[in-house]
Assembly symmetry: C2
Homo-oligomer: 200 residues x 2
DNA sequence: CCCCCTCTAGAACGAACGCTCTATCCAGGG
DNA sequence: CCCTGGATAGAGCGTTCGTTCTAGAGGGGG
């Protein structure tokens, strides 16, 4: 059961493989549902290596995993938002990309940040902070794209919040219902909402 | 450490106390982060009682906990939506209620359904189905309120999805950022979106 | 050649996990 | 009175958890 580990063995460093495995596993199973030994095995590493790179233990590793998911999705977000000069249409494309990812994984791969952070919020402030940073990062990316398209700075900032939050909520609903309908509808509504600000 | 258990000892049945404790604890700590012994202790019950009422073990208890959170929030939702004949304003009130609950618990009590279902989606289809049922239930309540206010049936159904999903996403963002701003903004945007349908 | 340091390797520990099991309590019918 | 069955009580099962620890592999600089 190290199907993916083999492929990654060649190019990536051990540390990178561990972080990727942690991010992917916690995305599916949450923080408490994922064991360090499972992460090590999936990454093709040993326990010693994991604790060598992350002496802070599971929490430090989870922070790195959340940060990895942060930049991973930020890259996708930037790419999609830059691909269309109409931000409303770009957001619709975004929902399609999310739906595609969900469907491709049999509705298993939701938001990597949410699943990791949700259960551990009270106990591990570091993880919660990393999740908040991710959301702030994504929101800024959306807000900049909207502002670039002619929407006022304050409105763009507020819309950044709601776009990210609605995508988040719709992705989880799609995951639970095993249907891309929530994401499709969210795309329509967000496009309509953005459009109502661009007209003004 | 059985502060709440004492208060509930008098009126509620053991089964009810166990379900409430499970719902509240899993809401904070997730499915895997909550132990059955902890639930029993918090409920003022013993392990034997828990397995007497839930022979299906932790999974069956989690399903009951999710269902409990379902009807609990459905009651609040109905009450708030019926309190104002303007559904846009009612949704804003809804965000305020959620923000109040979050703030009162020091940003610990988010959505009871999400936290329980997120980590256990792949392993426990029963829990996932209970979560999907909860979302569908809430969506119907919102859709009915919108339809009653004069919005077309199809539009009301679609808006039901997005209202619930945006509330969900905004609540988690508020929890992560420890600020009610995401919920406040979500309320404004949802009201604007609903208004754009009512005018048409 | 040896030393040193980064990294790998995995056995071992105490604690906690979900769950099973037996024993006991107690109200209601015979 | 005993008997029965739902409910309570908690010790104990095997397993897995996060973590620690010691040992070794491998490669440059002295």
């Amino acid at each position: 059961m190290k199907t993916n580990a083999e492929q990654e063995d060649t190019a990536l460093s051990t540390r990178e493989r561990v972080v990727r495995a942690a991010s992917r596993l916690m995305q599916r199973q949450g923080y408490d549902g994922t064991g360090i030994k499972q992460i090590a095995q999936e990454a093709g590493a040993t326990l010693g290596s994991v604790y060598h790179f992350f002496p802070g233990g599971k929490q430090e590793l989870a922070v790195a995993a959340v940060h990895y998911g942060d930049v991973e999705f930020a890259d996708i977000l930037r790419e999609v938002l830059y691909s269309d000069e109409d931000p409303a249409q770009a957001v619709v494309t975004c929902t399609q990309v999310l739906a595609e990812g969900l469907r491709a994984s049999d509705w298993a791969d939701g938001c990597p940040v949410t699943a990791t952070a949700l259960g551990s919020a009270g106990r591990a402030p570091d993880i919660q902070r990393a999740a908040a940073d991710a959301f702030a990062n994504w929101r800024d990316i959306v807000a900049q794209a909207l502002h670039r398209a002619g929407i006022g700075e304050a409105d763009a900032r507020d819309l950044g919040w709601t776009v990210i939050n609605t995508l988040e909520g719709a992705e989880f609903a799609a995951q639970a219902a095993q249907s891309d309908e929530p994401l499709r509808i969210a795309g329509e509504h967000l496009a309509r909402l953005i459009g109502s600000y661009r007209a003004a």
